[in-house]
């Protein structure tokens, strides 16, 4: 029984990786821009597809059959591309809506989600395609004593913890982070200090979406790459952000991993409840602490 609990906890932590990384990006964007980015899941999905395309299709498309851009390169290239896509979305569409009610930007990003999903369903299939580019060094398994665990999943857990801590550090402990936080608190005052606030907002959006792209690459070798992989996740991610506290970086990370764990453990005790336990907790948190566990209560 103990082994089963530990094993499901490991798997829960493994899912928590993606909850944490995605809710982190969402929290950065909401915290600094006050935009509810519904397209976050679709950008995560696009990131996974880009990794697949770089490995399997790009070479064929440009006529160099042997070209396979590997996982490590994708881990760097894809977040940059998705970040650029995010910047494009912010510059051409989102920025016109800042003066309106946040519901408008939510609707816009929801529309972008549908467009991206439709495009990938059209050009790829509705079902998943396995990502074949898992690096050789991360294949195989590790015996953890209580279970056999694939090396790659262990790597994903470690890698994402490092990324989450780094992002928290940048925003909460560095000068750039301080400027960002000040810019959202009082944009006019920060402008008066000669800081280009619109540029800062654009880059922040690009950074947040880049994180979604990074999570997508990380997910590709574990789950099949499919157009609906983001849609399956985005509702859970929103619940994680609400529980953590809208806009709280630490809240997003901690509740991401914690809810992954809770979900995993629920599978041990009462499996059918595993899909709903997160939403149940969300309701409880909203009733008791409406601003979320880590949010500033006003």
């Amino acid at each position: 029984m103990l082994n089963l609990i530990l094993a499901q906890a490991m798997l829960g932590l493994n899912n928590g990786v993606f909850y944490a990384m995605l809710s982190l990006g969402l929290a950065v964007i909401f915290g600094l821009l006050n935009v509810v980015n519904f397209a976050h899941g679709a950008l995560y999905m696009t990131g996974a597809f880009l990794a697949l395309i770089l490995y399997s299709y790009l070479g064929v498309w440009i006529g160099i059959e042997d070209l396979h851009i590997n996982f490590w390169a994708a881990l760097i290239i894809v977040p940059i591309l998705i970040g650029a896509l995010g910047i494009l979305i912010e510059r051409t569409m989102l920025r016109w809506l800042y003066n309106f009610d946040p519901i408008y930007s939510l609707l816009l990003t929801f529309g972008i989600t549908l467009v991206l999903q439709g495009l990938f369903v059209n050009f790829f299939s509705a079902s998943g395609t396995p990502y074949p580019g898992q690096p050789e060094s991360l294949r195989g398994v590790v015996d953890l004593g209580f279970m056999i665990f694939p090396k790659y999943r262990l790597f994903a857990i470690g890698f994402s913890i490092v990324i989450c801590l780094a992002v928290w550090f940048i925003i909460e402990r560095t000068r750039i982070g301080a400027m960002l936080r000040a810019g959202t608190e009082n944009p006019d005052l920060v402008k008066a200090f000669g800081i280009n606030v619109p540029l800062m907002v654009t880059l922040t959006f690009g950074f947040g979406t880049g994180l979604a792209g990074l999570a997508g690459v990380l997910a590709a070798p574990i789950y099949s790459v499919g157009p609906l992989m983001g849609a399956d996740l985005i509702i859970i991610i929103f619940a994680v952000v609400v529980i953590g506290g809208m806009g709280s970086i630490m809240g997003a990370v901690v509740s991401g991993f914690a809810l992954g764990l809770v979900e995993g453990l629920t599978k041990v005790f009462y499996a059918p409840a595993a899909n709903t336990v997160i939403f149940f907790l969300m309701v409880v948190v909203l009733l008791v602490r409406p601003a979320g566990l880590f949010g500033r209560q006003s």
Binding site: V121, S125, S127, V141, Y223
Partner: protein, 404 residues
């Protein structure tokens, strides 16, 4: 005199009437076959997809391209594994496009919906990819035919063989819809009849990507056999992840309840080696089948035929022969001919379509073997299972219409 004149007028009128009927024997001057399948999802390789369309088109060409002097047309569409999408397409095909017969219908939920709808509109459906016994059981219809296999025929071979080898406690990982539940129920029945026990099960939504937590539950249940009551990509992912998490290495045995040779090929025979599975047909079984496979691969872009593909070919020929024999594409007449025919070709040995719509024919127990020259030669035939043993009898099937 007057009566003679009257009589001849009547005769002439009758003759004219008969001519008119002959001219109408093929409605709209074309026989249209619709392939309604999963063209892009988890069942698009092996069950539906291009492979199914290729088999139907090949059969039409082999038949000569025309029947009763009228052209035969094949159309296809993707139902996306959604019963509502499938019903809308079927309705449009029957009402607007005048499709005469709908086939493939992979996914039991889809097949049940379309068979019901088509029967109300007096259109023949011949399901190949779908598995649930309900199609010819409680949901049987006058025009619905189930051709190839069902959830009763599959476990008879596989489960019997495994229980007899000592695998007497089972845990199910089940696709959470009509098909998975039917397969689990039918398999449990076989296991329990032979003295085995079922210790637990997990219901998994269709097209899940992560089976690891369900596999761990199966592992901790201590069952000797982990049965996969799913199909297509779901089966492939379950087997792959069972290997990733060291479940087979830990001494538990996997049993695929519905495995196709395309699944085995995509897993690799080294991963799937020793896996028992039941199939309605295997290309390397006899010379006739080998020859057919060679020809089929020219149509399919070098993918070997799975049993649903072979069934698609076989049923298309049977349907066209029935149209020819009936002298019309009228559904009632064609269905009657199909019931009278013996279906004895490379696919179905000694087969016949019963009153409840079920094609009863022999099935095969296969075992995955490793290290063959032909990448598609993935298995050996362990045993052939007579049709009467594999399928429900007419009385046990539960089709009220057929009991009358």
């Amino acid at each position: 005199m007057k009566s003679v004149l009257y009589g001849s007028v009547c005769a002439a009128a009758l003759a004219l009437g008969a001519n008119a009927a002959m001219a109408q024997s093929v409605s709209d001057d074309v026989v249209k076959i619709g392939v309604l399948g999963d063209m892009s999802g988890v069942y698009s390789t092996g069950f539906s997809g291009d492979g199914a369309v290729a088999a139907v088109k090949m059969a039409v060409e082999d038949f000569g391209g025309t029947v009763l002097g009228k052209p035969i047309e094949v159309i296809s569409a993707d139902h996306q594994n959604k019963a509502d999408v499938a019903s809308a397409t079927a309705r449009q095909w029957i009402d607007e496009d005048k499709v005469d017969m709908i086939t493939d219908l992979t996914n039991s939920a889809v097949a049940l919906a379309v068979q019901q709808l088509a029967s109300e509109k007096k259109t023949i459906t011949i399901s190949t990819g779908a598995a649930t016994t309900a199609l010819t059981g409680e949901a049987c219809t006058k025009y619905g035919i189930h051709y190839g296999y069902d959830t009763h025929a599959l476990p008879v071979g596989t489960a019997t063989a495994i229980v007899k080898e000592g695998g007497d406690s089972w845990y199910f990982i089940t696709a959470d819809y009509a098909f998975g539940h039917a397969l689990q129920d039918n398999t449990s029945e076989v296991v329990e009849k032979l003295g085995g026990t079922v210790v637990g099960s997990s219901d998994v939504p269709l097209a899940s990507t992560d089976f690891s937590s369900y596999l761990l539950q199966a592992q901790s249940s201590g069952a000797k056999v982990i049965a996969l009551a799913n199909a297509g990509q779901d089966t492939v992912n379950s087997i792959k992840q069972a290997n990733e998490f060291g479940i087979v290495a830990g001494g538990q045995q996997l049993a695929g309840m519905l495995v196709l040779i395309s699944d085995v090929k995509s897993l690799g025979t080294s991963v799937a080696k020793g896996l028992n599975f039941t199939s309605a047909w295997y290309w390397n079984h006899d010379d006739e089948s080998r020859a057919w496979k060679e020809k089929y691969m020219k149509y399919s872009g070098d993918a070997a035929p799975t049993f649903p593909h072979a069934a698609d070919y076989s049923l298309t020929l049977a349907y066209l022969k029935a149209v020819e024999a009936a002298g019309t594409d009228d559904s009632d007449a064609v269905r009657e001919e199909l019931g009278k025919m013996k279906i004895d070709d490379f696919f179905a040995k000694g087969g016949s379509i019963r009153k409840d719509g079920l094609l009863v024919h022999d099935m095969y127990l296969l075992r995955v073997k490793d290290g063959n020259e032909d990448p598609w030669d993935v298995a050996e035939v362990v045993r052939s299972i007579p049709g009467e043993e594999a399928y429900f009898s007419l009385a046990d099937g539960g089709c009220a219409m057929a009991q009358e």
